[in-house]
Symmetry: C2
């Protein structure tokens, strides 16, 4: 495999751009190809059969673009379709749940780990499974936090409404005396300052907030090095990001820029059919 080939990043929509941002910040010389299935977003409310079918078509599309590795930058797909993708693809596949779970086990002192995620991710039981896989003594308390997705997409990320919504979700975790909280949905990093602050107030000053996106970027770096797939660095060379989406809704640029943390204007953005 060509180590200069791009890394494929796949999400059901635009939320995976927070993962893309974390990857680009850590590995600025890697070429990135992002596919957001914006015509069929959100996956979180769909059945596992449907999610697997959609994930397969997206992964195959990225593979035809010659990617060296696939990052599934979507908790729902990571929870439901990762095993299938690992079996069917002949390149390494990295999800966001295992890195998030491992980072939470490291961060937690008492082994009481809270997770906020979409209803689909919570129902899948993927975080408890992933935590049990690296530390059998840790306990996981997962709470669905669905309202944070539309609030993030609307850019309503501070003030009384998101704070009340976050408080409702974190209160359920505080009752379980968690000391680490995983942001188990790609949209949630937008609320990082608010969640950090409210978690300290509600769950105690020592509570650690773990971002699955950042944890995944770090595991990606290790994986590329282990497999000899890291792009060679040359001074002044910066990796580029190409974006493919299955639909281009109104306010696309505004919402995408919010998740990516910089303007998408100037990037290659193309609408494709799947």
């Amino acid at each position: 495999m060509d180590r200069q080939a791009p890394i494929g990043i796949f999400d059901s929509g635009l939320g995976g751009l927070t993962v893309t941002r974390a990857i680009h910040d850590l590995l600025p010389h890697e070429q990135l190809v992002y596919l957001g299935d914006t015509a069929r977003v959100p996956y979180g409310t769909r059945s596992p059969q449907t999610i697997i079918r959609y994930a397969r078509s997206c992964a195959r599309h990225l593979q035809r673009r010659g990617i060296k590795l696939l990052v599934v930058a979507c908790n729902t797909v990571s929870a439901v379709a990762l095993d299938m993708l690992r079996v069917e693809l002949d390149i390494p596949v990295l999800g966001v749940i295992e890195p998030g779970a491992r980072a939470a086990v490291s961060a937690s002192q008492r082994g009481r780990i809270g997770v906020i995620a979409t209803a689909g991710t919570v129902l899948s039981g993927a975080y408890p499974r992933a935590v049990a896989g690296c530390d059998s003594r840790s306990e996981v308390f997962a709470v669905p936090a669905p309202l944070l997705v539309p609030l993030a997409e609307e850019g309503w990320v501070d003030g009384q409404v998101p704070e009340l919504v976050i408080d409702r979700y974190l209160t359920a975790l505080a009752e379980q005396h968690v000391d680490a909280i995983v942001l188990g949905c790609t949209h949630y990093p937008l609320f990082r300052p608010l969640i950090d602050g409210r978690a300290r107030v509600l769950c105690g000053g020592a509570t650690k907030v773990v971002d699955s996106a950042e944890a995944s970027a770090h595991e990606l770096r290790d994986l590329l090095q282990d497999r000899g797939l890291a792009a060679s660095e040359s001074p002044g060379m910066r990796g580029e990001l190409a974006m493919f989406v299955t639909d281009m809704p109104g306010r696309f640029g505004e919402v995408a820029s919010r998740f990516l943390g910089r303007p998408v204007e100037g990037l290659r953005v193309e609408q494709i059919d799947l």
Copy 2:
């Protein structure tokens, strides 16, 4: 056309069940066939081309089930695809926007009409067009109220969070001195008590709230009578509701029951591929 044939009702998801409820309450002897495109919901964030493609496949499916009339119980589809459906189908097609607009013109004293709807419906300009079509002197002020959709789906329909969210949207309408407010999204009737109360406080005690779902049911009754399509009533005969969905996500029964206003358990519910 057989007047005993069912009425088809189509929505991108489950929100159209509020329209179904209004129709069943007014016309309890009509047979109803509901199609919710739950595999591809929401349409509101999709491009017009995609919405037209999806609407066409849904309408054709219902037509193959022998419906005598199609109700497009979705503001987004009514805004974008109604003309296409009326051209392509050989049965009457009723949207929800025109009835809502006509009811608002009747309800408003000063001709200052507020609309809350999804971003897609607001951007389409469908309500101003529909109002202008029946009263050229009325002015329309449309405000996107996207957060109410997930709040309705979560059942978070009273308390401080929905009140703060509603206040933000209604304040924008109060500044325009509206005296009628159209609920321009099928999800919003779940907030009817809260919106009624807050509209009186923020926009004045004489403000009328107009529900597009109810207005559409009344126009449907008139249309069936005008076209000789009303089912004959026989004592003790009640119309049945059959539901078809393109995906059956978790919590389907709970969410569907919330919109329909009664349990969906016991109804015929079937998952289909489109």
